[in-house]
Symmetry: C2
DNA sequence: TCAATACTTGTCTATTTAGTCAACTTTTCA
DNA sequence: TGAAAAGTTGACTAAATAGACAAGTATTGA
C-alpha cells in the first residue's frame, strides 16, 4: 500500500546487472540435479530452493513457474551438448572420427553426469518436453552422420551395417557410465568412478566398435 | 459403529480366494506403468487408481502404502527378470552363449519395455530401493559371468578385454531399445518399433560384439 | 440359507505442493 | 547522495496429495 511509486521524477535508469546471471545459474544448477534425480513431476520447488539455499519465492522471481524452470534447465543442457559435440565431424579416417567421438562422449559422461541423466529421464518418460528439439537439430545431426557412415560403407572402409544401430550402440555404451553409475559401482565393487576407469571404458568401447565394424 | 463383529458364532471360515490375485495384478500392472513413466516421487496413487479403474481406497486395501506398492512392483519385475535370464549359462562356445544372451536381452526390451524403464529410472535416481537386491543376487551373477569371460580369454577364444566393460556394453546396447524408444523413433522416422526392427538391432549388436571381441 | 469373512468404495483429514503478494533490502547511476 | 530500479523474502492461498475409516456389498462354505 505504501510502495514508493507516487513521484515520477526519473533520476536515472538501471543497468542489467550481473547478479541476475549469478542467481539464475545457482538455481539452474540445483534444479538440474533435482530434476535429474526425481524427474519433472517428482522434483519439488521447495527442495530445489533448499539445495540452492535461496527462498522458494526467489526462484519464482527468475522463472515463471516449474515448467519454465525445467525448460530453462533443458535449454541450458542442450547448449552445453551442442558446444561439446559440434566440433566433431570431418573427412578424416573413420577410425579417427569414431575414436575421438567415443572419447568425447565418455568424457561428457564423466564431467556432466547429471546432464546425461536429465536427458535419460526425459527419454524414458517419453520425451514430452523435448519433441521440438528432437524434431529439428537432432534429426539433422542424425541424418548427416548416417550419410557419413554410408559413404564409408560404400568406400569399403567399414562393414555393411545399418549406421543407425552403430550410432545407437555408441550412445548407449557411452551414456551408460553416467546414467547407470550405481549398477557399475556395485558390479565393480568400487566407491566412485575414477578418471582412469572412464579411460579404460573408452578404450574397451573403441576396441569393440572399431574392430566390430571392420574399421582398421 | 454397526460393524457385524458382535456375535462370535463361527459358521465356517473363508478360502483364500483368487479375487485377491486378480485385483492385485491389475493394480500392479497400472502401478508399473505409472512408476516407470514418472518415477517413485512423480507417480501418484490417484493416477494409478484411474489407470487401473479402481477407487484409490482399493489400492490401500491390497498394499500398505505407496512405498509398499512400489516395492511389490519392483519385486514382481525382479522375479520376471530372473525367470527370463536364469536359463542362460553354459559351457558352449562363446559365440553361441553371447548370441543367445543378446537375443534374449533384446527380446526382453521388446516384450517388457516398462520393466526395463522402471529399472532404468531407479538406477538413474541412485537405486535407493534396489540396494539389497544389487548387493546379493546381482553381484553373484556378475562375478560368475566375469569368470566365464576370463576363462575364454585364457583359452584364447576372445580378445583380452576387461569382461566388465563387455557386459556393460551388451546391457547398454540392448536396454537402449526399450529405455530410449522416443529417441530411436524420431531418429528412424517411424511410429513404433516393430519386431523385425528389434531383430535387426540384435543382429547388428551381435555382429559388432562378437567380431569386436575377437570371437569367431 | 446364513453368518463369517473377503472385498469395495465414498468421504474425510492432515500434509505437501506450486504459486502469489506486498513489504523489504540492495544495487545502480546521474 | 538519493531516487529508481533490481533483487529478496516471509507469509499467505488454493489445489493436489497420501492415507484413514466406516459403511457398505460380494463370496464362501457348512
Amino acid at each position: 500500500m505504501a510502495h514508493p511509486m507516487t513521484t515520477n521524477i526519473s533520476r536515472g535508469p538501471y543497468k542489467p546487472g550481473r547478479i541476475r546471471e549469478q542467481s539464475r545459474d545457482l538455481i539452474l544448477q540445483a534444479a538440474e540435479a533435482e530434476f535429474a534425480c526425481h524427474g519433472f513431476r517428482g522434483a519439488t520447488m521447495q527442495r530445489i530452493a533448499e539445495s540452492a539455499q535461496v527462498p522458494k519465492a526467489n526462484i519464482h522471481y527468475y522463472f515463471s513457474n516449474k515448467l519454465g524452470l525445467y525448460g530453462a534447465v533443458l535449454e541450458n543442457t542442450l547448449n552445453l551438448w551442442d558446444t561439446v559435440f559440434n566440433e566433431l565431424s570431418s573427412h578424416d579416417e573413420p577410425a579417427d572420427v569414431l575414436s575421438r567421438y567415443i572419447d568425447a562422449k565418455i568424457d561428457f559422461s564423466r564431467t556432466h553426469p547429471t546432464a546425461s541423466r536429465l536427458f535419460a529421464k526425459e527419454m524414458i518418460s517419453g520425451a514430452p518436453h523435448l519433441s521440438a528439439y528432437l524434431q529439428q537439430d537432432y534429426r539433422l545431426w542424425f541424418k548427416q552422420r548416417m550419410s557419413i557412415f554410408e559413404s564409408w560403407i560404400a568406400q569399403g572402409k567399414m562393414d555393411d551395417l545399418d549406421p543407425a544401430h552403430v550410432i545407437f550402440m555408441i550412445w548407449a555404451s557411452t551414456q551408460y557410465y553416467a546414467d547407470f553409475e550405481p549398477q557399475i559401482l556395485i558390479a565393480t565393487q568400487t566407491q566412485h568412478l575414477t578418471e582412469p576407469a572412464f579411460v579404460a571404458a573408452a578404450d574397451s568401447i573403441k576396441h569393440i566398435i572399431l574392430k566390430g565394424c571392420g574399421i582398421c
